[in-house]
């Protein structure tokens, strides 16, 4: 069976983001970009299913600007078999990405689509669920364990109260949480091999998808700053402050 993994190019998680002074967004010029960490977990999970003999082909897809090719090459270096870039200069919102992925799924017929639960840039946490809705497939979000057998995926999910396990009929959508796996390091020989793997370029128009943004961003500002407080010498002083100054206990 074929697994499709959707990946997003985002500002690297180690970068301290800076809001642009004109309030239109955050600074992305000369900033290190990487694969969204949750998507890396998604690629890793697909690879493990392939290594376990469940999945036969891993297809990675990214929707965005031409530079997303680099992110796709990283996924190919992790081990994915081939890649599709749906290239667009429009700032794609989750619903548009879900529509593009739906069109790709209809061409490629994967049995399993794995996505990161959220991207660390817009923190939306929507695309997987939206794709599941558009395809009328079942969904298991926030996965911490995945087992695939007999036309079903059994997924353990991280939920507010603990863990929950559901069974999905394939084809199905899974979104990854942090503890699903620990992604492997990419090795130099695999980076070299990845350069030769097929990478197809598609355009939203060719897929018949209108990607115009539905939500306008009016402004982006810094959050209110918290003032650093004071150091207190010991527990006694702390309790005194909490009781008499902050009055929280």
């Amino acid at each position: 069976m074929k697994a499709l993994v959707s990946i997003k190019r985002v500002i690297d998680y180690n970068v301290k983001v800076r809001v642009k002074s004109d309030g239109t967004g955050v600074e992305t010029a000369n900033v290190k970009m990487s694969m969204n960490p949750f998507d890396e977990i998604a690629v890793e999970e697909a690879m493990r299913l392939k290594e376990a003999g469940v999945v036969t082909e891993v297809l990675v897809v990214s929707c965005g600007v031409a530079a997303c090719q680099e992110t796709l090459r990283t996924a190919l270096a992790i081990g994915a078999d081939r890649a599709i870039l749906v290239e667009s200069d429009v700032a794609l919102q989750p619903l548009a990405v879900a529509k593009l992925l739906k069109a790709v799924c209809q061409k490629e017929n994967p049995q399993l689509v794995i996505l990161g639960k959220q991207a660390i840039d817009d923190d939306s946490n929507q695309t997987g669920q939206m794709l599941a809705a558009l395809l009328n497939w079942p969904q298991a979000t926030f996965a911490s364990k995945v087992q695939v057998a007999d036309g079903k995926a059994q997924v353990t999910r991280e939920v507010d109260g603990g863990l929950e396990t559901v069974s999905l009929k394939l084809p199905a959508i899974i979104t990854t949480d942090l503890r699903l796996n620990e992604p492997r390091y990419v090795t130099l020989p695999n980076i070299m091999k990845a350069k030769k793997k097929p990478l197809e370029n598609l355009k939203p128009d060719a897929l018949g998808v209108d990607v115009a943004p539905r939500v306008s961003i009016l402004r982006v500002v810094d959050p209110p700053k918290r003032k650093a407080g004071v150091k207190v010498p010991d527990a006694k002083a702390l309790v005194e402050k909490l009781r008499n100054e902050a009055k929280v206990i």
């Binding site: 955050v26 079942p138 929950e164 150091k231």
Partner: protein
Amino acid sequence: MTILVIAEHDHGTLKVATRNTVAAAKQIGSEIHVLVAGNNCGAAAKAAAQIEGVAKVLHSDAPQLGEFLAENVSALVVSIAKRYSHILAPATSNGKDVTPRIAALLDAQQISEIIAVESPDTFVRPIYAGNALATVQSKDAIKVITVRITGFDAVAASGGSAVLETLVAPPDSGLSAFISREVSKSERPELTAAKIVVSGGRGMGSGENFKILEPLADKLNAAMGASRAAVDAGFVPNDWQVGQTGKIVAPDLYVAVGISGAIQHLAGMKDSRVIVAINKDEEAPIFSVADYGIVGDLFKVVPQLVEELKK
């Protein structure tokens, strides 16, 4: 303009998150309906009808709604969506799971985790782990929104007298099935609703060592939380995680013990009213957001703190 709020409940009781979400709805418009969907959730529906400012409660009871499977809940909401200008759910794990599915079925671009309402179509939401705040405007006919519950003070649980209406659920989708649930049992307050939270980080060193936080949490009647590092290391269960991708909390008092203060952790707790940090590294970033800090060995400071609190 009528607003639908999807209730968070465990069938018997209604979760506070529902009332935080009603608070957000009140800032958008005046006619508020609450949907209570589940299996044998009559008690939760009755509680919803008491909430201040709620005009109508839609009560949908069916076996296929019992586990809040997104496929079934979304079909139910979509069946009545056309009556509403806004559909709101709390950004709990249930809300995050089902709401985007509803939005896509309505061809709406959801707005996730709003923390403020500027107008009926304009909202503020954090992006980049709360390192920036975006003001966004929706052009969709039905606005589908999740609400960060720490952004809105809950409305009163009583004072309302909403009409109760029964809603018939669509049949089971047949796409997914519930297998099991492992609920972390705890006598402590819920992490996202607690007035005081005591959290431990990598500095705790082991799951066993988290025990030294228990007397402190007991003394303060606090919920217990953890940083991602502590959860990843297997010290404590996943549902303790506070941070960008875990739980977002804003208690009156947050006590961070052995937590360095990574950006993604700060994203989950920096709206707390008072923050206390106990860490042996005086350069730890947590001190830059803490109101009160103690530089020292947590294994000495925490027991001393418990003793002082007894006085």
